[in-house]
Symmetry: C2
Subunit: 259 residues, 2 copies
């Protein structure tokens, strides 16, 4: 495989920052960072020894790959503004890879299936990378690049990536909302949310090696109506949370019954 080493990044947000740092750490040359927000691009550029650029015209001709990590709705327009010959990928879970298609470049998607925060970049975080490309040789180059920092790299077409993105929303965004509901509830009741943190972590650790449905516990799983009624009484003045409690209790009871 012809290794990719000269990289430019469009964007300086959460995904751009994490990929820039991880690639930089593997020894790749992240040479240029573009963002309409020059303060952000300069901060990220400094972190990975790159140059912040303020215009697409400044993208170096020697660039082997442009990674575009910007909001989904801006991809189509950016694609036409970038140098036509340089190969590029976007990092979106939802957008078709051929939004980047033109007559000369090779293109693809390079989707990190992870929740990434620019203020908390950890080299320990495992970032699965899902690839889709216009050309097989380009795909192999991207795979080699991704495998430098990720143990989990797969090819996946846009339709399947989109489906997987739905599952990611469920286990990440919806789960985080449950955490948020619990945190608000603790605050309202002057209980320490910190006491729940080991439980949150253990719940996530447990499904690393088990099928979630097989390690379910709790009053709904036992169909313990005494405890359930008691809990609903506690939640009686919190409509939203009470409704969530009823909904999940029913879902868990039904799941257990259908086994």
């Amino acid at each position: 495989v012809d290794k990719i080493n000269e990289i430019a990044i469009i964007g300086a947000g959460n995904v751009a920052s994490n990929l820039a740092v991880r690639l930089h750490e593997t020894g790749a040359n992240v040479n240029q960072i573009y963002s309409p927000n020059l303060i952000r691009s300069k901060a990220l550029a400094e972190l990975v020894n790159a140059k912040a650029i303020a215009s697409f015209d400044e993208i170096a001709a020697a660039t082997e790959l442009i990674i575009i990590a910007i909001p989904d709705d801006k991809l189509a327009s950016i694609s036409t503004q970038l140098p036509k010959q340089i190969n590029c990928v976007h990092t979106s879970g939802s957008v078709q890879f051929n939004v980047l298609a033109n007559e000369t470049r090779k293109y693809g998607s390079f989707y990190p299936l992870q929740t990434l925060t620019s203020s908390q970049i950890s080299l320990d975080t495992e970032i699965p990378i899902l690839l889709e490309t216009s050309h097989n040789d380009f795909g192999l180059q991207l795979k080699e690049l991704a495998e430098r920092f990720s143990p989990s790299v797969e090819f996946m077409d846009s339709e399947r990536r989109k489906k997987l993105h739905v599952a990611a929303v469920i286990v990440n965004n919806f789960t985080n909302h449950l955490y948020s509901e619990a945190q608000q509830y603790c605050e309202n009741n002057e209980l320490s949310f910190d006491l729940l943190k080991p439980l949150i972590l253990e719940t996530a650790l447990k499904v690393q090696n088990n099928i979630p449905g097989e390690v379910q516990t709790g009053p709904a799983k036992r169909n313990d109506q005494l405890v359930i009624k008691d809990h609903l009484k506690i939640l009686s003045d919190q409509e939203e949370l009470k409704e969530l409690y009823e909904r999940f209790t029913k879902l868990i009871i039904n799941t257990q019954a259908s086994k």
Copy 2:
């Protein structure tokens, strides 16, 4: 504090097994294990160098503490069958501590706020312990005992413990059900659930040091209606999951709007 060292355990399930092993590891003498299921009590007894007993009459007079880790609805009846003079605690999140009251013993609750599995006992798992007791001196003894294996030990009355248990159900049982829904969805769509495991772990790690509402991400948080509509279309033939998606999307959008 007069340290507790001679312990008997009633029960041989998930909570009993984890507490027995953790206490044994701290050097406490877990001397006797009772369970109506003698195979289980023998297995656990072997693990902690104790004796499995088949009757409450066999509980040694030198026992300083009986830990009762059995289903909630059996606590009241077991309480009257145990030796009247020996101090005891139950491990329930939902039951009042005075279910164990009589005229002679000191009693309390010793509630591990964690999801515990007997087949996967890890000494690394942090187990917050919530205490409530009839006598202050007994409370201090229990605190000393719990602190041997837990960095997080607090006194909490039954009402507040019950309230915290509701929050525990939300972040543990309901979250696990979301994992389970996602795993089923992946299976139905021939997607690898393994790809989601780093995301699940990172989501739980992120709230160890952040307020959940402040690290929310995703299409609902951005109110990205294009992606949301796309996802609902993908879920159109899966009524249950579609309803969950709509419900959480609405909750997250409302939470963001109320900030």
